[in-house]
Amino acid sequence: MRVSRHHTPARRDAAVLRLRRLNRGLVAVAFAGTAVLAEVAAHAFPGHTVKLSPGSTTLAATSSTTSASVHHHHHRSDTAPLKAPTTTPSTGPSSTSAASTPVESTPTQSTPVETTPVQSTPTPVAVTPAPVVSGGS
């Protein structure tokens, strides 16, 4: 078989080696570029990681928006956390006897209970105000 002067095995191996090096270089550049672009994008379009909740199929979410006037609130990362009270509730002076037991009776009727309306009688404070009731509504 005739071997061309320009296609010797040695030249072929050298060419393959150069191609390998070039490929490695390109891969390295691609990785570095991806990392740089990801960092830039992360700062340009803030998103947030979403914790997996029970029953949820969404593991994570990131987002971006190009509209300055439209707020996709579900994508914001500045959701203010729930705030604890600055002063904690104290034991009231007039807890009922039922309040001193760790077990409450089960309600038998959820219908609102009403009585005769209280008449408007703006008089000086003479009656100790009853506690305001906080319950389901």
Partner: protein, 333 residues
Amino acid sequence: MPGVAVADRPTVAADAVTARWEALGTSVVVRVADPTGLEPAVAAVEAELSAIDAAASRFRADSDLERLNAAGGRWVDVSPLLIDALDAGIRAAELTDGAVDPTLGDALLLAGYTTDWRELGRPPRDGPRRPPRPLVVRVRQTRAWEQIELRRTPPAARLGGGIRVDLGATAKALAADRAAIAAATAAGVGVGVGVLVSLGGDIATGGSPPVGGWQVHVTDDHRSSPTAPGQTIGLASGGLATSSTTVRRWSRAGQTMHHILDPRDGRPVDRTWRTASVAAATCIDANIASTASIVLGSAAADWLADRGLPARLVARDGRVETVGDWPTDGWPA
């Protein structure tokens, strides 16, 4: 002991520091530390409630919210107040991973909550109940609240994905916070007049409280008397909310329904706790946490403790558990 009746117009109680009336489909209580501040405080609260009703009522076809729900995914010009209320609803969903979800409008309609709950069928009191029938429940989108888009200037909103919004819980608590601020200002907060506003048992405070704090009795139903089984506490500041599956119940297809739905399947929650009371810096934070507690069930106590929120949880069998700094009132450890 029965609760106190309320009228459509503010009625001053014999103590001269309390006014009560009906609004937003629930009862309103305004209490002031100084009786001279009651009248301006009541006027301020009435104005706030009127505004939130026009913005966020699900039972008024002309409310901003209902115009938005009926818009078929188009942008709708709305009031800044509805933007605030929608924002609060989205925040609730984010903070609870969807346990409190403002996009349950369709699920509530499917459950039969189509009008003021007092006009719905009452649940049977006694006697055999019909065997439960499976509800037809639509498969819900995950994180559907992400379909709500808001624009501040000019104020407008859009609902994508065919969702329907109900802001019942968070809008009421938001209104309580706003009303308490307005009332305290009107009553003269600068001179130390404190105000408490209760909307259906969701309580917000402003200004200086009376000595010993505002006396609040937590129980299953906000229409109960202060002697009903529960606990009386002193609240010096911030907000307090109670959610319960024992109230706002109605009957549909032989099943007893209530208004706290599990966002995962759109059905009434029936888990560990029947009632949850939570204290927080604001009424809306307390409301978010109390509603989430009912939905989270057995995970609620740890969830509340992680957030530093004092709470009182009542199990379906009446067992009481307190969380964090909630006063135990001498209960056995």
